[in-house]
């Protein structure tokens, strides 16, 4: 087997897979920009993470839960009808939507809850946008009997009612956050405030590959199971690597989990940002296309902001992409050119959402529909012997009300 199948195993000297450095930096991006009160616990998480990173017993335990509870490995599906419909490259879908709780978020939640238990933490907090990370966090907390508080923007609570109810069923307390626009950014602020006040017993289970070091690296490593599996599955199905791998980017955890195992390979990597109403409007979530580097939520990364460094509200039809920044490793991969980033707007995502429902019988999450929308543009331009690997990061049951609303249907 190839060395890259081991998560966290460093590549060669010129590998793009060796970061972050000791300061938690990916080039100039990343770092640990938090108040002093949090620094000791951040260092504690870092030590705990380094301790389990190459601990066989930890990984055996995690793998057991991923296999028997989450349902891994997730399928790799050759989307034959979508391929025919688009008339170009062969399209493979990595079916993270088939995981327990319906998205890739559970991969990192399972890893982090095992870590939190090892650290002796007895209370879990998390932020959520679309509610997928909140549901996954509430799920693992129920599984291990830990109290769980989920911060969710009030706007998101309104547009993601099914997930709010799911979290409550799972025993979590959902605290709506009405500051700002009441979306993911505000939920993250409030979760950080909770953590500052409860550092002794609380673990903040961050949902994406962003935030202060070690979260971007740790969440990535837990999500690399996506790319590692897809790679092995594609080798088995086609005997070769994909030509292109595509994933949507909000905070960017599903994308970095898919991309990272391919960073040193001749695979074209494309991250799809949420364009919202369009990147030329002020209703967008495309942090790379429209933002500039700055500091928020513990890391230095691309952010949507005005000239005075005030953070701007993001907009996307997809609550999970509705965030004015993204993980620091993406900022680095953007600046060094290894990964291409493209925007897809709300309408294009809606169209791709409906297309996948009709031709493959799969209802994708609106987040994942952004990646699919780019596939619909790219696949027809490529030869039929090319292979596109797409991360179907989540299922779209949670989005049916939003889609109905946007397509003029009353449920």
């Amino acid at each position: 087997m190839n060395q890259h199948f081991s998560p966290g195993l460093a590549g060669g000297q010129n590998s793009l897979r060796n970061l972050p450095d000791d300061r938690g930096r990916f080039g100039k991006f990343g770092g640990r920009f938090v108040a002093e009160t949090l620094m000791p616990v951040i260092r504690e998480v870092e030590s705990a993470y380094l301790a389990i990173k190459n601990d066989a017993a930890f990984h055996a335990e995690l793998d057991g839960y991923l296999k028997n509870y989450v349902g891994r490995p997730s399928a790799l599906w050759y989307a034959e009808r979508l391929t025919e419909h688009l008339g170009g490259a062969k399209i493979y879908l990595k079916r993270e939507d088939l995981n327990h709780t319906g998205a890739h978020k559970i991969n990192s939640c399972m890893g982090q809850i095992l870590l939190a238990r090892r650290m002796g933490k007895t209370r879990i907090i998390a932020e959520t946008g679309a509610g997928q990370h909140g549901v996954a966090t509430a799920t693992v907390c129920a599984l291990f009997g830990l109290p769980c508080v989920i911060y969710m923007g009030a706007t998101d609570v309104e547009r993601q009612k099914p997930n709010v109810f799911r979290m409550k069923l799972l025993g979590a307390e959902v605290r709506p956050v009405s500051a700002g626009a009441g979306t993911l950014k505000d939920a993250m602020n409030e979760a950080l405030r909770d953590w500052v006040a409860n550092v002794d017993d609380t673990y903040y289970l961050i949902g994406t590959a962003a935030g202060p070091h070690p979260f971007p690296a740790m969440v990535r490593d837990f999500q690399c199971v996506i790319g590692n599996e897809a790679r092995a599955q594609l080798m088995e199905a086609e005997g070769r690597l994909p030509d292109v791998a595509i994933a949507c980017v909000g905070g960017g955890s599903n994308a970095i989990g898919l991309f990272h195992p391919f960073l040193d390979e001749p695979v074209r990597l494309i991250g799809v940002e949420a364009g919202g109403h369009g990147i030329d409007t002020d209703k967008t979530a495309a942090s790379l296309a429209r933002g500039k580097p700055g500091v928020l939520h513990g890391n230095l990364t691309y952010l949507l902001q005005n000239d005075d460094g005030q953070i701007q509200e993001a907009h996307s039809i997809s609550a999970g992409l509705d965030y004015p920044g993204l993980g620091p490793e993406h900022s680095w991969l953007f600046e060094n050119g290894r990964v291409e980033y493209v925007p897809i707007d709300d309408d294009e995502a809606l169209e791709a959402f409906q297309l996948l429902c009709r031709v493959e019988g799969i209802i994708p999450a609106l987040e994942s529909a952004h990646a699919l929308a780019h596939v619909t543009k790219l696949a027809p331009t490529l030869d039929r012997d090319k292979i596109i690997l797409v991360n179907l990061s989540g299922r779209g049951d949670k989005d049916i009300f939003t889609v109905a609303d946007h397509t003029g249907v009353t449920l």
Partner: protein, 276 residues
């Protein structure tokens, strides 16, 4: 000698601690906050801390969050905040001014240029809440080049192994965050502070100010007995917020009501004599 060092040296001679009141720039508008700032020294402020509004103040409770939002709505920018300091310096060249805020507006301004402009405006110290010592190189060299003190935060969670590292690059004074929590929510007990401050004192000769959770004149006086200065923020902002009209605008008496509270705090702090 910097204004901060000079002020603490004088207070030591007087045998008392310092009162450091806080105001948020442009809260609820430029004129009102400029008037509060201008009135603070006569009301008994020994040093003054000015909050730089930010959209995402992660270490602040609701009271200061709302103050920042009012400030931003009134058009606060870093440039505008520096202009406030410059105007203040036209009539007061001795009271130290410390700006407190979050890093991103400074990054957007450009840390080097910001420190140059801040020094030129008459700023003496900077507190960047989300800049731990691990990341200090982003700002500290530029501040040092301009003679601006970087005031570091020490928290109850900062243990003795970490304290020397945090204090090593501190200057001006040390800001002891008295509770593990956000601003304006809880108050540390006198017993907690009496245990915590000597622990910090072991590692530094700098004056120590206590902040987060000091609301009353009694608490301020108590803090200056245990440490060297008391920082009062949320309690003053709370008073300001209660004295605005329905649309969040200042009333004719707003400035004086806030300054009355500063006077009461100062009177209590000045009533405490510390053995020199």
């Amino acid at each position: 000698m910097s204004r901060i060092a000079a002020r603490f040296a004088n207070l030591k001679k007087e045998g008392r601690g310092a009162l450091i009141p806080f105001l948020e720039a442009f809260d609820p508008d430029l004129e009102t906050s400029q008037a509060i700032l201008a009135g603070m020294p006569a009301a008994g402020a020994d040093l003054i801390e000015i909050g730089m509004p930010f959209t995402d103040p992660m270490a602040d409770g609701p009271i200061i969050q709302l103050a920042g939002q009012r400030g931003l709505k009134a058009g606060a920018t870093l440039k505008g905040t520096l202009t406030m300091v410059r105007r203040f310096r036209e009539t007061d060249d001795r009271t130290p001014i410390i700006l407190m805020g979050y890093l991103n507006p400074i990054v957007a301004y450009g840390p080097e240029v910001f420190c140059q402009d801040a020094a030129a405006a008459g700023v003496d110290g900077l507190i960047a809440v989300d800049l731990p010592p691990e990341e200090a190189d982003l700002l500290a060299p530029h501040a040092a080049a301009q003679g601006i003190d970087i005031i570091r935060l020490v928290a109850p969670t900062t243990d003795e192994a970490r304290l020397p590292y945090v204090l090593e690059g501190s200057s001006g004074f040390v800001y002891y965050v008295s509770i593990a929590g956000i601003t304006g929510t809880r108050t540390a007990s006198s017993a907690d502070l009496s245990a915590a401050i000597p622990r910090v004192r072991k590692f530094t000769d700098l004056p120590i100010a206590i902040g987060f959770g000091i609301r009353t004149p009694e608490q301020a006086a108590n803090a200056t007995e245990i440490a060297d200065a008391a920082i009062v923020a949320s309690a003053l902002i709370d008073t300001l917020a209660r004295n605005l009209d329905e649309d969040g605008r200042a009333l004719p008496g707003t400035v004086e009501i806030v300054l009355d509270q500063v006077r009461a705090l100062a009177e209590a702090v000045r009533g405490v004599r510390v053995a020199a």
